[in-house]
Symmetry: C2
Subunit: 444 residues, 2 copies
C-alpha cells in the first residue's frame, strides 16, 4: 500500500506537485482554500500574468504540459524601456530566440487542475481552509464549504499554501525555527492597457515594457487577447508615493508627467487606480522547511520572493522537481528525502530571494543609468563572442537550470570583470581572445 | 481624568515601566503571567544573574532604586580568562573603578514589584495570561488563575511580555509588519560552582570568568552568597556539541579535558548537566513597534537579543527611559509619543542586537587569539592615554549612555585605527601625541 500524501494549497505548485506524486503512485489529497476554478472560470486567483522561463518549462515538461502552455504564451524577447520623454530603447534578454513567456496565472492553474483531475489517485477538496495541523501524526483539519470541520490523516503533508501558509504555523512555534518576513518599502497596483480594435496590441507585443523612474516604475506584460497588464511599483510613503496620490487630479497629473506615452492607452486609468488595491510585497525566509518525515514546505510557503526577477513560480516549480528527484533517489526513506530536499533547495531559495530584491533596483533605477547600460552592452558582446566562457547572471537565472546560488555568485564575478574592462578602458580589446584569456580566471 | 495604561508583562521592564507611568499619574494595570513573586519568593523567574551597567543604573536612578540594588550587587571589574591548561589571564573592562554588576534577576524583579505595590495607581494582576488583544480599542483579554477569562479596556497598551510576546501577536498579522526570529547555532545550559566553607568564593570574586574554547565557552558570574552561576554555551550539533554529550562518561571526559580547573569546584556537575535544560538563544527583530496611539512594545517584546554583551536588561530599561522622555517631551500627543519612541529606539536596538551576536565570537574565540589580544592591549593604552579622544566600543556600550548605534559605528572606526597602528608597526609611537594627531580623524 502506497503512502497517502496531503497536499495543502492547490495553487500552481500544489497542483503540479499533486501530479508528480500521483505519477509515482501515491494516494494524493489536494486541498484548496478557494473555489474550484473549473466551475468558476472567471475567478482563477489573482488576475496577473507571470513570466515562465527555462526552470518552469522543465517542470512542466515532466508532466507533458510545456508545449500546450507555450502555445498560449507570448514570448518576450527583451525589455522595452520607455523614457520620461516617451523615447523607446530595447535590450534583448538573451541570445537570438531566447525569451521569457508571459502566461496567465489563472489559465495555467486551470490547466494543472484539469490534468490533476484525470488521475484516479488524486482527490481534490475545494473551499477547504486549513485551520490546524498535527505534525506528529500528519493530520490536518479543514473548515469546509458548509462550515463543518473535517480532519484528514495522511502519512505526510506537503505544504504549498503560499506566503502566509497555514502549514507553516505549527513549525513556526517549534524551538529553533528561523523565520523572517520582510516588506519592501514599495507597494504595487495593477492597471491595464486594453487591446485596440480587433485585439490589436497597442505596443510592441513581444517585449516586457518598463517605465523606469528611479524610485518607482511601471511595467506591462502582454496578454494573448491583445491587452497588457500594467503594474505600478512605487513607495508607500515619500515624495513620489501612493500616499501622495489621493485625488483624481493628483493621479492624472502624475501619470501625464511621468508616463506620458502610456496615458493615451489607459482609458480606465482613474477608475482602475481607485478600484484596484495597493498591495504590499513580502520576502519570507525560514528554516527548517521540513519536520522529520511528516511535513515539507514547498514554494512560497518556504520562501516568498518579490516578483522582480520573474522567478517566483519558476523557483517554486523547481522545488517540486527537486522533491520529485529526491524521491527518485532515496525512495521511501522519507526522512532522508525531506532533509536532502531542504538542504539542496535552501541556498537556492536564499539566492533568488536576494536576486529578486536586487532586480527591483536594477529595473527601476539602473536601467536608466548610463554606466549600467554601458556595462550591459559589454556584457552582451561578451555573451555573443564567448558563449562558453561568459554567461550573464540573467542568462544563468532565466535560461539555465544552474543553481540560483551559482547565478548569484557568478553575477558578482561577472560584475568585477566588467568593471575591470571599463577601468582599463579596454572595451575595444574584448574582441581579442588573447586579451580576454587573461581575464577569464576572474570568473572561476 | 488621566489615561489608563495596561502594561502586559510584569518582568523587569514591565515593573519598571509601571512605576514610571504611575509617577506621571496614569492609572496603571500591570498584568503578569507568573505568580506573585512576593508570596513565592523561591520562584522569581529564571535563576540567572544579569550584568547591570550604566544604562540600567540610570534607569533605576529615576525611581531611586539604583543605590539599593548596587548594595546587593557584585562588581566585576574585568574578564578572567581560564585557558585549557588552567592558566589565568585578566583584562579590565574599563578604567579604574569601572565595573559591570552581577545582580540576581529574581531579586531585582522582586524589588521592582515591591516598589510598584506602593503606588495606589498601580493595580497588579498575577497569574494572568494574555490570550487576546484588540488594537483598535486597547482592550486585552486574560486567562486568570481560576481559568476564567477577563477583559480589560484601557486607553493604551504597553507590551513588555518578552521575546515571545502575546502583545506582538496582533501586530504580527497586520500588513507590512517586518519580523524575524533567528536562532544562534549555539545553545546554553546553566551549571553551578557552589560557595566554599562559610560562603567563600572559590575563584576571584570581582570578575566575570570565561573559559573560551573557540567554538564553545563556559562563563561564570558571582552571586552574593559565594556561589557562581556558570553557563555553558555550545553548538547544538557538531563535534563539540550538546548532541555529543549524552552519557555521564562523555560529560565527565569533556569537562575534565576542556575545563580542568573548574571541575573540582563543580560537585553537582553531572546531576546539573542532566537535570537542567538545554536552551536556545533567539534574536527577535521587528518593526513597527507601535500601533497608532494604542499599543507600544518595549524590551524583549520589541527586540530580543542574545546575552553576550550583557545588555539585554540594560537596553530594555533604556526603552522605558526613552518612553518616559517622549511623554515628558510630547505630553499626551500619544501618536507622536509612540512614533518618536520607536524611531529613536529602533536603530539602537538593531545595533545592540548586532553587537551582542558579535560579542559571542569575541568571547568564545577571539579572546584566545594573539592578534586580538594585542589589539585590545593597544586599545587599553589609548583609552588610558587619550580618554577624551579614544573611547572603546565596550566603554561606549557599557559605561556610557551614548546611543548603541554610535557605539557600533565607533567600534568599526576604532578597529580600523588599531589595525593601522599594527600595520605600521607603530605600537611604540602611540605615546607620542603628534603621531596620534594624524590618526584621530579616522574616528570622526
Amino acid at each position: 500500500m502506497k503512502d497517502t500524501i496531503s497536499i495543502i494549497g492547490g495553487g500552481l505548485s500544489g497542483s503540479l506537485l499533486a501530479i508528480y506524486m500521483a505519477k509515482r503512485g501515491f494516494q494524493v489529497n489536494l486541498f484548496e482554500r478557494r473555489p474550484d476554478m473549473r466551475s468558476n472560470k472567471i475567478y482563477a486567483g489573482k488576475s496577473i500574468n507571470l513570466a515562465l522561463s527555462t526552470r518552469g518549462l522543465r517542470a512542466l515538461e515532466r508532466i507533458g504540459l510545456d508545449k500546450e502552455i507555450l502555445d498560449d504564451a507570448i514570448p518576450m524577447y527583451g525589455r522595452m524601456m520607455h523614457s520620461a520623454d516617451s523615447e523607446l530603447s530595447y535590450h534583448a534578454y538573451g541570445k537570438e530566440g531566447q525569451a521569457i513567456n508571459s502566461v496567465s496565472r489563472g489559465r495555467l492553474n486551470l490547466k494543472l487542475i484539469e490534468l490533476a483531475s484525470e488521475y484516479e489517485n488524486i482527490t481534490m477538496y475545494f473551499n477547504a481552509r486549513c485551520i490546524d495541523t498535527d505534525l506528529e501524526t500528519a493530520t490536518a483539519t479543514f473548515e469546509m464549504e458548509d462550515g463543518s470541520h473535517q480532519t484528514f490523516k495522511a502519512d505526510r503533508i506537503m505544504g504549498t499554501d503560499g506566503a502566509f501558509a497555514a502549514t507553516r504555523g505549527k513549525l513556526q512555534i517549534t524551538d529553533r525555527f528561523n523565520y523572517s518576513q520582510s516588506y519592501l518599502h514599495v507597494g504595487y497596483k495593477e492597471l491595464v492597457i486594453p487591446a485596440g480594435e480587433a485585439g490589436k496590441f497597442m505596443m510592441e507585443k513581444n517585449a516586457l515594457h518598463i517605465w523606469p523612474r528611479r524610485e518607482y516604475m511601471m511595467i506591462a506584460l502582454p496578454n494573448p487577447a491583445g491587452d497588457f497588464t500594467c503594474t505600478l511599483f512605487m513607495p508607500f510613503e515619500g515624495q513620489n508615493s501612493f500616499a501622495n496620490l489621493q485625488t483624481k487630479e493628483e493621479v492624472t497629473k502624475f501619470f501625464n508627467e511621468k508616463f506620458p506615452d502610456a496615458v493615451p492607452m489607459m482609458p480606465t486609468l482613474i477608475e482602475d487606480f481607485f478600484t484596484n488595491p495597493t498591495s504590499s510585497l513580502v520576502t519570507v525566509r525560514c528554516y527548517p522547511w521540513v519536520r522529520k518525515d511528516k511535513l515539507a514546505l514547498l514554494g512560497d510557503a518556504a520562501h516568498a520572493v518579490v516578483p522582480f526577477y520573474g522567478q517566483g513560480m519558476n523557483c517554486s516549480f523547481e522545488d517540486c522537481v527537486e522533491m520529485d528527484d529526491c524521491i527518485e533517489e532515496f525512495g521511501t526513506d522519507w526522512n532522508k528525502v525531506f532533509d536532502e530536499y531542504q538542504k539542496r533547495r535552501k541556498p537556492n531559495a536564499d539566492a533568488i530571494s536576494e536576486l529578486a530584491i536586487q532586480n527591483y533596483y536594477e529595473m527601476a533605477d539602473k536601467v536608466a543609468d548610463a554606466h549600467f547600460l554601458h556595462k550591459k552592452h559589454i556584457e552582451h558582446e561578451l555573451s555573443d563572442l564567448y558563449p562558453e566562457q561568459y554567461k550573464s547572471q540573467y542568462e544563468l537565472t532565466t535560461f539555465s537550470i544552474s543553481p540560483y546560488s551559482y547565478a548569484l555568485q557568478q553575477g558578482q564575478k561577472n560584475d568585477a570583470l566588467l568593471e575591470k574592462i571599463i577601468a582599463e578602458k579596454a572595451e575595444d580589446k574584448i574582441k581579442d581572445p588573447a586579451y580576454m584569456e587573461g581575464l577569464w580566471s576572474m570568473l572561476k
